[in-house]
Symmetry: C2
């Protein structure tokens, strides 16, 4: 721990802190955050090596305990915020999360509460990210916006009237699973056809690329890469080199994403849509067609009003910040 | 005015009343409503015969003035609630309403306020209907539901966290214009392709019927009706007679509506979807396929949870009740 950090902490000795935990399919990030979004301590551990949840929680506790001590002890911590795929805000559970090793309905919040002796708030990872953007990121001072995370999958968090929409059962904001192409591409995780996630995630861009390579006989840098190795980063690299097919792949992805965003705008009329995650690194190759096709599908009253923003939070910190931000919303 | 009504009014002499006005493309309904939803006075006048808005407001005032007098004078009225196509809640305007004779952006709320000397709240007709359902109808005590009006067009009002979603610009809930079939049927009013309204409105069912009659050579009672006279009621009548093609037309309509409802569920995870309007009269011919296709497109966490309800408010009163209910929500 640096002297600088110690000093900072002494200056605000009475201020409460929050723990943020982001549980991903591969790794789990955790940290201790102050109210203005400074990440005082942080670390990462493996999620997938724990096939059952109890040893996972034991290891998480061992990782966090010394940080809690250094931060001034458990009395200094207001609570623990957790973001996890299929996390349920009302029940503090993780339910049927396809990307986690633990199956069924897990009373995760209660288990963490018992272990850490701290109040816990839990929601899905994209909802946590939305709260993070509202407190520290691109959506500050916004009352109506939609957060879309474009990673391996597509997640979302929706804020309306200044509040996150959790819905009646706590699962609102599964926009990645909305159907955009009826009877379209099969999604292995859900068994459904034509969902946004099947086309506009990193996985989707890879599948779009394979389809374009097969359908067209246009020359392309991508043809030099073994099929099993093609991913969205390589499509981006090819586009930078001027590869026409790579640009067409992003245009197609942006067409589907833009159409979906138009539908979301006509639902909740947000001030902005904040995009986050790996796919946004492709910049205007993906953003320009997305904007164009969104506008093309909007009816007049919505046209040229809704901003598409890219999150400027550091990807490694954003998930922890978002999860910790849930704590400040606790009653 | 009946003695019964006078008595009722004397008993609650101190209770404020609200005026509700529903402005439709053809007619305008108005009435005076008490806080528990009793329609004390009501009437209807033509909308479309007034090509400009000023004489329309003059006539509306002449219609309502004697009712206001009988209700105890203007001091007894808390305010006026108005539902109108493309009504904007924040600006009290009606903007570019395709089905009204008045073009452009009309400061309708302000004009009514000046004429009646009463505070005015204005929103789109489907939002007003949603508030009406929440106060007096199928959505009582619900905090998260979606109202869908299936009439000549498709309108919607969305309630989340117990509040209507107006969105950043006041136009949220245009679900009839969400794209369900990419590059699908052209919509004359908007110039867009494949919107829900193009398929699942009364107009849409008529077009579905014409398409089915042309594509198939199945015998059908509908073939005896001149094409220009086929409407959703006749498709319903034929279905009741056991007409297979008519049932297929409703199945197709329900497939598209069900897919759209699944998308809306994955957005805001409502407790129920309340359907209202002419198309619901087709009962299970439309409701059963709608439910089935909705469930088929939902991911696991939403399945078998969301109720599809049909509004039980009397259609002629519901619009006035909904508009008047806005007044009780006024600050």
């Amino acid at each position: 721990m640096s002297t600088k950090k110690e000093k900072g902490m002494n200056n605000q000795a009475m201020e409460p802190l929050a723990i943020g935990i982001d549980i991903g399919g591969t790794g789990t990030k955790y940290g201790i955050v102050d109210k203005v979004g400074n990440l005082l301590f942080s670390g990462e551990m493996s999620t997938k090596k724990h096939l059952t949840v109890e040893p996972f929680i034991d290891e998480l506790y061992l990782c966090l305990a010394p940080f809690i001590e250094q931060a001034g002890g458990v009395g200094r911590i207001k609570g623990i915020g957790i973001g996890a795929h299929n996390g349920n805000y009302y029940k503090n559970t993780i339910e049927h999360a396809a990307n986690l090793p633990w199956k069924g309905i897990i009373p995760f919040g209660k288990m963490i509460e018992d272990k850490f002796k701290l109040p816990v708030v839990l929601t899905n990872d994209a909802n946590a990210a939305a709260i993070g953007e509202m407190m520290y990121g691109a959506a500050q001072d916004m009352h109506d916006f939609i957060m879309i995370t474009l990673g391996t999958g597509v997640g979302s968090g929706i804020v309306a009237n200044g509040k996150l929409i959790y819905g009646h059962d706590g699962f609102a904001g599964e926009l990645g699973h909305t159907i955009i192409i009826p009877d379209g591409r099969y999604h292995e995780g859900t068994g459904k056809h034509g969902s946004l996630e099947s086309y506009a995630s990193a996985t989707g861009v890879r599948l779009n690329a394979l389809e374009f390579l097969e359908k067209s006989d246009k020359p392309s840098l991508l043809r030099k890469i073994p099929k099993e190795k093609i991913d969205s980063k390589q499509v981006h690299d090819a586009a930078i080199e001027g590869d026409e097919l790579a640009k067409e792949i992003f245009d197609y992805t942006g067409k589907i994403l833009g159409m979906a965003l138009a539908n979301f705008v006509m639902f909740s009329n947000p001030e902005a849509i904040v995009l986050f995650g790996g796919l946004t690194k492709a910049g205007d190759y993906i953003l320009k067609p997305t904007r164009d096709y969104m506008e093309a599908n909007l009816i007049q009253v919505f046209q040229n009003k809704v901003k598409i923003l890219v999150s400027h939070l550091k990807e490694s910190d954003a998930a922890i910040l978002g999860a910790s931000a849930l704590v400040w919303e606790m009653k």
